[in-house]
């Protein structure tokens, strides 16, 4: 058991712009429980939950513990301290120790309990990972100063709705322009969605770098769902390099092919909130090709 500082928990949560629902989902408790923790109605919580709470708040465990106390002694139902050797010196325990027969039974019971614990510990499979998988789709190249969309295809085999927390770290050189669904929260360079999905869903965001940027953007993120306690990394493409080719021109041949424009429309489907100039993209497809004019910061379309 650990004793947490509820006020500190609330302060960190609010400072990071996290909701009680988000924290409750990560720790796998109800929002009522989180509220009770914050209001100091249950200051002592399981260490496992304390660790999850710290993870949800993205801090170390000791940052949310009550000052001066890292752990609190475990007590049995009667309130006796069972983690403190001194607690054994109760009249009852003294009486037990005075009777060799009873002591033998206690030793046997302890051995059985220990064996049982060891069996459970070693035979129980490790905590399951999320069933949800996420694949990142991002162009291998982009033009600095122009929007670059990053698509996250989320899939879950369950036919029922599943709660997920999807996190993606934004490259330090990039600025977030738009996200879909727009319910995403952004804090400390991380964009996160807490939502429910059924089957497959598409999430995406659009970033932009300074026009003078000349390097490679790296992406990383993970997903956690209600089925598993471990977050799993997002698969797929994880970098994009600054260049002179439009992000939709995936093979970099300076033309938008039938396949390329169909892929873009399939990904974006009904949404146009990504701040992407699809009319320009269609003009590029209609033309014979395009060239990026860095001095004018615009595309010229070849007819």
């Amino acid at each position: 058991m650990v004793k947490i500082d509820g006020a500190r928990v609330r302060a960190i949560r609010e400072q990071k712009g996290l909701t009680q629902l988000y924290v409750a989902t990560v720790v796998e408790v109800t929002t009522d429980t989180v509220s009770r923790w914050e209001n100091k109605r249950y200051p002592s919580i399981k260490k496992e939950n304390g660790l999850k709470l710290a993870e949800a708040l993205e801090v170390e465990l000791n940052e949310i513990l009550d000052s001066g106390e890292s752990t609190v002694p475990m007590r049995d139902d009667a309130g006796a301290d069972i983690s403190d050797p001194a607690a054994e010196k109760t009249p009852e325990s003294s009486a037990w120790s005075k009777k060799p027969g009873h002591l033998g039974i206690l030793v046997i019971l302890s051995a059985m309990l220990g064996t049982g614990w060891a069996l459970v510990h070693y035979l129980t499979p490790p905590a399951p990972a999320s069933l949800t998988t996420v694949t990142r789709i991002v162009s291998p190249h982009f033009i600095p100063g122009r929007p670059l969309p990053v698509f996250l295809k989320v899939a879950n085999p369950s036919p029922e709705a599943v709660s997920i927390i999807l996190k993606e770290e934004l490259p330090p050189s990039a600025t977030l322009k738009a996200s879909f669904p727009s319910s995403a929260g952004k804090q400390d360079g991380t964009i996160r969605w807490l939502t429910q999905i059924t089957g497959s869903s598409l999430f995406y965001y659009t970033i932009i770098t300074d026009a003078s940027f000349n390097g490679t953007l790296s992406f990383s993120g993970n997903v956690r769902d209600g089925h598993g306690s471990e977050a799993i990394e997002i698969r797929g493409a994880n970098s994009s390099r600054a260049g002179v080719h439009h992000w939709a021109d995936s093979d970099g041949d300076n033309r938008i092919s039938d396949e390329e424009i169909l892929e873009v429309y399939d990904l974006l489907a009904n949404d146009s909130s990504a701040q992407l100039d699809l009319d320009l993209l269609e003009e590029m497809w209609l033309g014979d090709g395009y060239l990026w004019q860095p001095e004018q910061q615009k595309f010229s379309i070849l007819e």
Binding site: K153, S200, D258, E259, I261, L262, E263, Y265, D266, A269, N270, E282, W285, L286, D288
Partner: protein
């Protein structure tokens, strides 16, 4: 002498049930298939596309004429026309299940045997690109 069959009677129905299931699935597959047909009416070349159910997010229909063919009006008008290659393409966003009709007039009239057409789309929910060649009527 006992002439009883070596199989339990319910198993005799199995081939019949499997056949029925196969026929049902085949019928469903045909109903949901995309198709394209090409026909000629004087100077006009017509392309009819059957949009499958569920429909794709977008599709491209294209007609290829012999090079240097003089291309006249196209319907719908918003088409990608490559005059040198004599290729015409239409990008259709959010097509509905049913029939889409495209046409182009040429000068002089073309022989249907020298014309070809195709439809490109990705199946809903992802997958590799599907390319369907139009059948000539």
């Amino acid at each position: 002498m006992n002439h009883t069959t070596p199989y339990p009677k319910p198993l005799l129905l199995l081939p019949f049930l499997v056949s029925m299931l196969f026929l049902t699935l085949a019928a469903q597959s045909i109903a949901g298939q995309a198709a394209a047909t090409l026909e000629q009416d004087g100077q006009t070349i017509r392309l009819e596309v059957s949009v499958p159910t569920p429909p794709p997010t977008s599709l491209i229909a294209g007609i290829k004429l012999p090079a240097q063919t003089k291309i006249g009006a196209t319907s719908p008008p918003s088409a990608k026309v490559d005059s040198q290659k004599a290729h015409i393409k239409w990008l259709v966003k959010h097509p509905r299940p049913g029939t889409l009709r495209f046409s182009v007039t040429t000068s002089p009239p073309m022989k249907l045997s020298s014309v070809s057409a195709e439809v490109l789309f990705r199946p809903p929910g992802g997958g590799s690109l599907i390319r369907i060649d139009a059948k000539k009527r």
